[in-house]
Amino acid sequence: MIGDSTLHFIEYELQAIALAWMAMIYLIKIWQLATLKMPWDTAEQKGSTSRGILQSYGAIFMPWSMESSRTHFWRWLEFGTYHVGALVAIVNTFTYPFAPDFMAWPVRLVFAVLIAPSVLVGFLKLFQRITKPELRMISTPDDYFSLAAMQAFLFLAVMALLTNAPVWRMWYFLVTAFFLFYVPFSKISHYIYFFFARFIVGTRYGVKGVIPQGKA
């Protein structure tokens, strides 16, 4: 039996501490990156920097824009499904404790339906990482652990949403707190680097007029 005060601590105080930790680590990492020199293009522009950046950020939402998603539509769909699920599960860690009135059954059901497919995709990703030689070759313990931990996080999110039972909520928020402590150090932090990388790529190709460019 989970006491109300225990659950409250896990859902509020522990999350706040973990979030503060994550924010602090990210700020330090961003500061470290910002102190590195950046060889921006200073030549006369041939294209548009802003359009390049826009295209760079938008590329992942436009499966037709990259050959790697255009010719592997199902892989793109898996990618999208997985990340939509992860996003909803993260949003849920805020709405559950801070907007309890909003988290009525229909909303919880919608959230669970959005997250559940990502659990299945997660298993598929894990299976592919183990069975495909080209992925196995580049995989590290952090890759396997991050995938497995995400599976636990997503599965517990679904169970907490469907049952609203204190025990599932407790485990869901304990795993969430663990994630907030661990993620800034692991490969899962790619979502932070993504914004920097796409900006750099967009700027670089935008200046030169490489993107947005038509395909031949």
Partner: protein, 421 residues
């Protein structure tokens, strides 16, 4: 115990760490594998160790060990490792032989991982310890030495160019057509060493009535392939100084992919606003002449079907896509697109200096299989490209894969279809 080479290479890596590399060499790559099939080397060999991510990972492991907190504390967890002498030998193949820095993996990465930047950094570290293909080093030396012995070379060069002038005059039926060398003009044209990069452009400049002069130097910059910062700047700057001395308004770079990249995009980063000339590829200038009616082309003069190979440094890394197409469509009635093309074009397999490395000829021809398949699929009998490295590689691919093609640069194609009045 780290060897001297390892220490020097490690220092070089630290020195070269910038924000782009800092982002790409830590946790940005999720090892999703989307880049794998984008690579012509992987496509041609199906060797997982030659995929972009696998090649980058060799270097990223070391960069992470130095720069990533988790990798510093628990390297086995993230696959990080300390640099060893064996790694340097491995990098030589991964960075110089198995990657042509074409950036096709970058445009196919959902995250924006700059794998070529990682491998170019490895090239720089390898060069710092003398582990670099000898021919690239020699070619960079030759370029540097030409500047050092310029006075004794000048007369020899001008005499040879004078002989080429006759070909220009005959083609244009104009005894006044010239190849001016080191004269004050609006355009400084920077060729390669071959006559094929001097005579056809000279014919076009004369036909267009341009105010131009020929550079004493070659555009190519093999130090750039090596990531040899000091020499690549030196090789580039001698041209910029010449342009300043001749008071030109613009530098026109010959059909050489990396030379265009160096002078158009890299040099301003190196020298700031010290030099203020406009830099364009001759392709852009031909396109302008065509659109202004300064040159006239007759598409019916080209009987065979023509396709265009986008050199990576001119296209994906340079942004010049439409200009050569407009010129070629005006010069050939049967122009066929090579698919995929433009920003998604495949490298010819000989880029970033690989075509010069005779010891890796077999691998280079194998890596060119995707390009050979692309050419064959067009059904075109003539392949036109705008880079000398690509030109040589495609000529060899033609023989190796029995493609039954002729290969030309854009300048030659323009001259062949030019209407001389």
């Amino acid at each position: 115990m780290a060897t001297n080479n390892v220490q020097i290479a490690s220092q070089e890596l630290s020195k070269r760490l910038n924000r782009m590399l800092g982002v790409s060499a830590t946790n940005l790559c999720t090892h999703c594998g989307w880049c794998i099939e984008a690579c012509h080397v992987y496509q041609s060999t199906k060797d997982p160790a030659k995929s972009p991510v696998a090649k980058a990972e060799r270097v990223r492991k070391v960069l992470k060990r130095e720069n990533d907190w988790l990798s510093k504390a628990f390297p086995w967890w993230t696959g990080a490792k300390d640099l060893t002498e064996a790694d340097l030998d491995d990098w030589l193949h991964a960075a110089f032989r198995d990657c042509t820095l074409c950036e096709r993996c970058v445009v196919n990465c959902p995250m924006g991982v700059e794998t070529p930047a990682i491998l170019a950094t490895a090239r720089g570290a390898l060069t710092a310890v003398g582990k670099t293909p000898e021919i690239l080093d020699d070619l960079a030396d030759i370029a540097v030495s030409r500047e050092e012995s310029l006075d004794s070379y000048r007369d020899f060069f001008k005499k040879h160019v004078k002989n080429f002038e006759k070909q220009v005059q005959e083609k244009l039926k104009n005894p006044n057509a010239r190849i001016p060398v080191e004269e004050e003009a609006d355009i400084l044209y920077v060729p390669l060493s071959g006559v094929h990069t001097i005579v056809p452009p000279a014919i076009i400049f004369n036909a267009a009535g341009a105010s131009w002069t020929l550079s004493m130097f070659e555009a190519s910059n093999y130090a750039f392939f090596m990531g040899d910062t000091a020499r690549m700047k030196q090789i580039a700057e001698r041209i910029l100084k010449e342009a300043e001395r001749l008071k030109v308004k613009e530098i026109a770079v010959t059909e050489c992919g990396h030379a265009y990249g160096v002078l158009r995009w890299e040099a301003p980063k190196w020298f700031g606003d010290k030099y203020k000339f406009r830099v364009r590829s001759v392709l852009e200038i031909y396109d302008e002449y065509l659109s202004k009616g300064l040159i006239k082309l007759d598409a019916s003069k080209t009987s065979e079907s023509v396709t265009y190979h986008d050199p990576c440094n001119v296209g994906r890394k340079g942004g010049v896509f439409e200009e050569p197409r407009r010129v070629l469509k005006a010069s050939a009635a049967d122009f066929r697109e090579m698919l995929p093309g433009k920003a998604e074009n495949y490298c010819c397999g000989g880029g970033s200096g690989l075509v010069a490395c005779e010891e890796w000829r077999d691998e280079r021809l194998t890596y060119g299989k995707v390009k050979a398949d692309q050419i064959r699929a067009t059904g075109a009998k003539k392949v036109v490209t705008a880079c000398d490295n690509c030109l040589h590689q495609i000529m060899e691919l033609g023989e190796h894969y029995d493609l039954d093609i002729t290969v030309s640069n854009v300048s030659q194609q323009v001259v062949e279809s030019m209407v001389v009045e």
